[in-house]
Symmetry: C2
Subunit: 338 residues, 2 copies
């Protein structure tokens, strides 16, 4: 389906997911403008540097917590992708206010800016964490949101509730995606990043948080960005005040043990590195150790996720290693020994 | 079950629900102290005036949005009842930030204060609005929270998520009650209050928002306060990090038409007042016009709600009218003609 000419606004557009989405948006000739709002706390200019000659890309350094500074940027926008968030669920344990601000209050500000500027549509990046800790139960959209075990998940639940309420009360339209774990190049956190960091410092030992049997579904980030593009088409087709929710994760799950082993295999480190597993079933307090998601609703709507979870992990690792091998800037500390 | 000696803290303790709860807490000789934190936006000193000679009651005027001022009050507390909130779901339409602040951020502050002062237990007043607008579907606890249609409901969903996350991450214990509509003396808003206000100004006409077929379950406020007392016993029995959720509403539902007719009957106005119904099925945008709740879980746990919804409405009307007839202060404008 061809998109009509569209003005986009992407919060967190310089981040891990956002920058891949922007690659797709700018590849579409119908795109009139892509406005990026990012506070560059985890976003990076270099993720968008390859678009520096595209006049349709406008990058604004904005703290989304400041409503009055946010609102003017929403003038004339057709479609919002709200991706800005605290990228790591673990950070909420140390700073309990982080997710309240960077998830809940920021989402409120985005919705309020949309209401004031009459922006009709939003695609939102939620997470399977909204289902709470339900073990290996396969979660489908009707199950939730439920009661989350991390402050990160609480921020996603709060954001979904706000979107739902703004749609019903003020006529917005929304697509909410609940993602599995996202992996790929330009990552700034997560298990792969942690492992590679460790090996860059000391290739002899790899320490795993928890017993390594934690298993979740993983999505490759470019597949996810394609899902976001599909989401905005669905969003355009919604009647006012309506929203819809889709899981976006492959069937099944990949264990942390698989990730560790596969990383060592791709690096040729299998005989060089000793993996040290912990004893806990959970990586940290608030970690959901097991997660399985049912994306049949999204598949039936017309977006099949192209890779299995294990395939996504293997492919993402190869892409990350290739990406890192070409780096010379602030990621120098991630250069791996050869 | 006798309570052990306990230090209580009640947010919103001077409000409609809070003041009835405090009557019960102070009636228990095991109560060592009841600390009330209230910003007196809708709470009133007079609701607690009959306890002014009880040294166990400590009333503090506190804005719960200011975390640093809140935290010291939580020192030495055993059990929190968090009742402070925006009392009227309609207010969120005009001021979209109200519920974010008075529900979500305030609940975060309460939980963070508990974490810092090592307060182990909280009973929270949530609402059936967390189930969203599901028509006459009878909601049970496993259904939700779902996706709410009002900003008020979004604030309750966000608060439940925060409580769940703080329990899992920091070891708190919680009981969450999802209330039906609460009615009784000391009310400061809601359909009965609206109707009585109208009749005080003009007994000839009563205007109903919507077609009057809106129907929800109503709980009499003193029955609800007894439920809160039951809740704190359950809360004490929970292991650390655990929470439980209970609906608290009678079976069935009472229509707005019943409330209007019953009020006129009790006033002797049935032949004097003309009722004017609107046409909408909803009272206002974000209103959940139909709601039915299943409280069998609470009943099975040992707390049967003593009145049906219609009985609660009739009894509450009689109590409100008796309460108003004795008033001379700021409620003078609510004095009804005779």
């Amino acid at each position: 389906m061809a998109n009509p000419s569209t003005y986009y606004l992407v919060t967190g557009g310089a981040g891990f997911i956002g920058s891949h989405l922007i690659d797709l948006l700018l590849a579409d000739p119908a795109t009139k403008e892509v406005r990026v709002l990012d506070n560059f706390s985890s976003g990076r200019q270099e993720h968008l540097a390859h678009h520096e000659h595209d006049p349709r890309l406008k990058i604004h350094t904005v703290e989304l917590l400041e409503l009055d500074k946010v609102v003017p940027h929403f003038l004339g926008v057709d479609q919002v992708f709200h991706l800005a968030a605290n990228p790591d669920a673990r950070w909420g344990i140390e700073n309990t206010r982080l997710d309240l601000e960077q998830e809940t209050i920021v989402t409120y500000n985005v919705l309020e800016a949309m209401r004031r500027q009459k922006v009709p549509r939003i695609v939102f990046s939620s997470s399977g964490t909204v289902y709470g800790d339900v073990g290996t139960t396969v979660t489908h959209e009707k199950l939730g949101p439920a009661l989350p075990v991390s402050l990160y998940g609480a921020g996603k639940v709060a954001s979904e509730g706000l979107i739902s309420a703004f749609c019903a009360t003020f006529g917005l339209r929304a697509i909410i995606f609940r993602f599995g774990n996202i992996v790929g190049e330009r990552t700034t956190h997560g298990v792969m990043y942690d492992f590679i960091r460790q090996l860059a410092k000391n290739p002899a030992d790899l320490k795993v948080l928890g017993n390594g049997h934690q298993a979740k579904p993983y999505v490759y980030v470019r597949d996810l960005a394609a899902g976001l593009m599909f989401g905005q088409e669905r969003c355009r087709a919604l009647p006012p005040s309506q929203f819809d929710v889709f899981n976006l994760a492959p069937d099944g799950a990949t264990s942390v043990r698989f990730i560790a082993t596969e990383l060592l295999r791709q690096l040729g480190f299998s005989d060089r590195t000793k993996i040290h597993y912990g004893e806990a079933t959970q990586g940290w307090p608030g970690d959901v150790a097991q997660s399985r998601m049912d994306s049949s609703k999204l598949r039936a709507a017309g977006f099949p996720i192209p890779r299995s979870s294990d395939e996504a992990v293997s492919f993402a690792l190869s892409q990350i290693l290739q990406w890192l091998s070409g780096r010379t800037s602030q990621l120098d500390d991630l250069r791996l020994p050869r």
